[in-house]
Amino acid sequence: MMITFLQNFGGQLIFKTWQHLYISGISLFLGVIVAIPLGVLLTRFKKIAGIVIGLASVLQTVPAMALLALMIPLFGIGAKPAIIALFIYSLLPILRNTYLGLEDVNPSVLDAAKGMGMSQLESIRMVELPLAAPVIMAGVRLSGTYVIAWATLASYIGAGGLGDFIFNGLNLYRGDLILGGSIPVIILALVVDYLLGLLEKALTPRVTGDEGGQS
């Protein structure tokens, strides 16, 4: 059955997977480059940190379908509104983890870094981000998994992706199409999570000379 499915839909599967990956990847990338600097910034302005993180949490609670539908009047249909909606979803885990990760850095270390004569930027670049890297990466992994799962819904507003298989399957009562869409999404999510895990490991600073010694 799987062979027949691949014979019939193989080319389409590859294309849709690529589309899916493309939408998710761009959304996550945007999420990372916005949420990490924002999270860092929030640690310097703690008074508004609560408000901003609260706002991001509210956005997170908007049902995915509703958010996608809301994008249509603003950005029309296709990949663009989908990417924007998924980008909004990816923000919170990364933002919150960046903020918490930086807040969690030992204050003595920060005091010493400042007292040694590090500027704010040097302290962030050389001390805070490296030490917070595991926590930040955990947020990125979480967002990555979310985004890949929710990118399925993007098919609803004409963005394509593996969601097309699933929705077609639902409309046509064809289990093979539903599975043919779902299984690649699951595999994709697992693979991306695994790859981000490797990245996390690479970014986690060594704190001992032993191999694989990580805190």
């Binding site: 030992n106 007292g115 040694m116 004569g117 030490l131 001992t208």
Partner: protein, 427 residues
């Protein structure tokens, strides 16, 4: 003036005064200790020097330059900073930690690596530690690195905030010695915050006593011990330490006999024997013409090698243990007693013979110390419970002391010397 602080005030929001009208002029090469109870403003004052905090009013000048007009980041790179919680960067190797400031100052890598080596040797740790991470070092070792880091960029001023108070007593003492040596060798200026009077007395050239944001007394350790400005200072020192500390500020020069029996090495053995006989001693110290201590000759050696034509210089023993006249008694007594020497010659900084410490003199010192300690312990008991029940215990303490003192005396006498009879109880 190297570092000058005038009319410093620091007020936190809510009108909480942390430091009030603080004035201090610090010379290059001084070791200043700020001491006080918590909340006395000592750390606040110190942190204003590298602008970790900014004063509400008043000025701080380094070599005549107002630091409030300097870039704080640049200023901090000129000032070493060591904190209680060490604060090594856990994700950097010891090498990178030590050379952090040089790296910020954009030194070349070669120069940094070389400096890391010099620094790790300076704090008496092996080179192999350079590639390790802070988590692999003990607390004491980590703080050595903390000290190395603060000195690595040739900072002229080193600030230390309770740097050793989280360490165990043995490690703490080792680090105190290390820092004191470094400071004396390098001539750098240290400002050291502590709440430990022993530490302040040991390290400081001048102590600044603070209470409730104000300076209470600024004086040398010796002066503080002799003339505490008021009851607060006295209490901070602790009555027991006031007395106990006496041996620690008494130098060998103050207790030695100034008439050692010595002879120049060109003297003949006949002359030597005659001097021994006249002065009734069994050992002669041997010096050169400029009175530099060279060694000693005892009666056995003299007897074995006796020949009218020989000079002292031919037979004397060069392996002699001696102490410097400026050495502090507390450090010296143990060493003398441990080695079991009968008499220990005392030299000045040029190596010239100036006196001798006999075992009899040491007995006096030990005797004083023991008596004073026990006296104080019993006073302490009385303070806690004003009933008469502590009386027997203090009595027994006294009699034990008397016994041990007698023991000392007896052994001293058997060694062929006499002790003075005067007792100095409770002075």
């Amino acid at each position: 003036m190297f570092l000058s602080m005038s009319h410093l005030n620091k007020t936190y929001s809510g009108n909480k005064v942390a430091v009030e009208d603080f004035n201090l002029e610090i010379e290059k090469g001084e070791f200043i200790c700020f001491i006080g109870t918590s909340g006395s403003g000592k750390t606040t004052t110190m942190r204003m020097i590298n602008r970790m905090l900014n004063q509400t009013s008043g000025t701080i000048q380094i070599e005549g330059q107002d630091i409030s007009k300097m870039n704080p980041v640049q200023l901090r790179r000129r000032i070493g900073y060591v904190i209680q919680n060490i604060g090594l960067l856990p994700h950097m190797t010891i090498r990178d930690n030590i050379t952090l400031v040089p790296r910020l100052l954009k030194w070349s890598e070669d120069k940094r690596n070389q400096r890391a080596k010099e620094m790790i040797e300076m704090v008496e740790l092996p080179d192999s530690f350079l590639d390790r991470y802070p988590a692999e070092l003990s607390g004491g070792q980590q703080q050595r690195i903390g000290v190395a880091r603060a000195l690595a960029a040739d900072q002229d001023i080193i600030l230390m905030d309770e740097a050793f108070s989280a360490l165990d007593p043995v490690t703490r003492e080792m680090l105190q010695d290390l820092v004191k040596n470094l400071q004396q060798k390098s001539g750098k200026t240290f400002v050291f915050v502590t709440h430990d009077m022993d530490e302040a007395l040991k390290l400081a050239t001048r102590i600044v006593v603070m209470s409730h944001g104000k300076m209470v007394q600024v004086a040398t350790p010796e002066e503080i011990l002799r003339h505490p400005a008021n009851d607060f200072v006295e209490e901070l020192i602790g009555r027991d330490r006031l007395i106990q500390a006496k041996p620690s500020i008494t130098t060998v020069g103050q207790v030695m006999l100034k008439t050692p029996v010595a002879m120049v090495s060109s003297a003949t053995l006949v002359q030597a024997l005659k001097l021994m006989h006249d002065r009734r001693v069994d050992t002669l110290l041997v010096t050169d013409k400029e009175n530099h201590l060279r060694g000693f000759v005892d009666i056995e050696t003299l007897n074995d090698n006796y020949s009218p034509t020989k000079q002292l210089g031919d037979i004397f023993n060069e392996r002699i243990f001696y102490v410097n006249e400026n050495a502090v008694i507390r450090d010296t007594v143990d060493r003398i007693l441990k080695h079991g020497y009968k008499n220990v010659p005392v030299v000045d900084d040029d190596g010239k013979l100036v006196g001798i410490v006999t075992r009899a003199a040491l007995v006096d010192i030990v005797y004083d110390a023991l008596f004073v300690d026990d006296k104080l312990e019993s006073t302490g008991n009385d303070d806690q419970e004003t009933t008469g029940t502590t009386q027997p215990s203090s009595d027994s303490a006294m009699s034990q002391t008397a016994k041990s003192a007698q023991g000392q005396q007896a052994s001293a006498e058997s060694a062929g010397t006499t002790t003075s009879d005067e007792t100095k109880v409770g002075d």
